[in-house]
């Protein structure tokens, strides 16, 4: 799948933003007034910025409100509704926190639960795709939620929880890649089933339908950079979780330290999300002799 920058930025930043909302909603971070305002602003900038970025992926961004209508059947629609709900609930919670200096626990929990549901809905947009075997797994929501939680813990300066989650992410991420590498083969879709000609003998594509490119190939048969996948995986693992975990455990927390860990994690996260798209193979590639 084509790793569009708008979608990578959307899933990473909004994941972090909603992760932060979750921790703040649960009552973590014992601050008030201006400091509270700064953290709330960061959460909104990340979640809102991510959502704004996702609009650039649309052919008709001006019609985005229509996407809230089909929450009964569509995960994308549910994600839209839930993100608005989360931002609304958390907004009331944050206003009371900043200006009245009261943290309404039940409202915070509600906002936190809604934030988790939002990230889950985002992940289900990908996990529901049977046509992309690597994504079509319960591990996709696990991955999205774990990164959001770890990032949220980090941003809300919960060094202990963040370090623990990052440590946990290392084997989980590695397992997701190992399982994902086998997913296409296990899906049972081959050029033979795609054309129904598999029973007749050894099958190969003789001619593409056209000499040039097309939307399907650009969007769903993206292959550039896959040869660097192993290096990028190691980079994503090191920067996304291993290094942040090590730094959080070894060094005492300070503003500079936290900023450094956040930047390191963000770089690793971008690499991880780029791989999530670039490595995902769509079964339509079978019609083009490519996976």
């Amino acid at each position: 799948m084509h790793p569009a920058p708008s979608v990578i930025i959307f899933t990473t930043l909004s994941g972090l933003g909603f992760g932060l909302m979750m921790f703040l909603g649960l009552g973590f971070l014992d601050v008030s007034g201006w400091v509270a305002f700064v953290f709330v602003a960061i959460a909104y900038a990340l979640a809102g910025g991510g959502l704004l970025s996702s609009l650039f992926h649309l052919g008709h961004p001006e019609r985005f409100m229509k996407a809230l209508r089909q929450w009964r059947s569509s995960w994308l629609s549910r994600e839209g509704v839930l993100s608005f709900l989360t931002m609304g609930l958390f907004g009331i919670y944050a206003l009371l926190w900043i200006f009245m200096d009261t943290r309404v626990a039940w409202l915070g929990y509600l906002a936190a639960a809604s934030a988790v549901a939002t990230v889950f809905a985002t992940s289900m947009i990908y996990a529901q795709m049977k046509s992309v075997p690597r994504w079509h797994s319960f591990l996709t929501p696990v991955m999205f939620l774990m990164y959001a939680l770890a990032g949220g813990a980090l941003l809300s300066t919960q060094t202990y929880i963040a370090g623990l989650l990052f440590l946990l992410l290392v084997p989980v991420q590695a397992m997701i890649w190992v399982v994902g590498d086998r997913a296409f083969g296990a899906s049972g879709s081959t050029m033979g089933t795609a054309t129904g000609l598999g029973k007749l003998g050894k099958l190969r594509l003789l001619e593409k339908p056209h000499s040039g490119n097309n939307y399907l190939l650009q969007e769903m048969v993206y292959k550039i950079g896959r040869k660097h996948a192993t290096k990028l995986r190691l980079f994503a693992l090191a920067f996304g979780s291993l290094l942040p975990a090590a730094l959080l455990v070894v060094f005492p927390a300070s503003h500079v330290m936290m900023l450094l860990v956040i930047l390191i994690h963000l770089t690793g996260l971008f690499a991880q999300r780029w791989l999530f798209f670039a490595e995902a193979e769509h079964v339509v590639g079978l019609y083009y002799g490519q996976r």
Binding site: M1, M129, V284
Partner: protein, 248 residues
Amino acid sequence: MTTLPQSTDKKLGLVIDLDTCVGCHACEISCKEWNTSNYGAPLSDVDAYGANPVGTFLNRVHSFEVKQENKPAQVTHFPKSCLHCEDAPCVTVCPTGASYKRTEDGIVLVNESDCIGCGLCAWSCPYGAREMDALAGVMKKCTLCVDRIYNENIPERDRVPSCVRTCPAGARHFGDLGDPDSDVSRLVAERGGMELMPEQGTKPVNRYLPPRPKADVEEIDVLAPFLQRQDEEAGGFLGWLDRTLEKL
């Protein structure tokens, strides 16, 4: 509504005969012609006369080669368009309700004024039947020529999808696959019509008729006798010369 109908009154669809298709791409071109000038946004081309032309098509013809051991290779042309699935994933993923399946005839359509161009339906389709139009920013797909098949302003024989009307080989058939007595259903039963990627669980309506088995003949190379090497020994003086030089 982007929930799928429980059942549809008819299951209109195509039956494509892979035994008959000659791979001329006429269906593809007639499809583009009809659908660029009728229902919905035109099917745009980008850089049409340049080095990297890219365009929107609703039907594309692939060509595959099947080879059995010790047998000649067999070429099969493979036209591919929307299969109007009963369990169409492209309909349920749509966040706006622009993508829908009609209850009356089962045709899967896009209401372009509601489409936000998110591309999720194209992702969800295992067959690559949907293409986003680069200029219009909305999703395009086969409409089964919904603006032809019910159109009383055109002669009755033209009230079939453009690709079916055009096919010079008669490899494309249109009808109600929900009715077991229809011509297309009988054709499917007779010839063992296939579903594409049944493992994806989409329950496609369109069917493909497999190529008929070729008669089992030895591979006959009509030119072989003429191409055999003529290694007979030369006679006379040249033969003597040849033998003498060989001995040296």
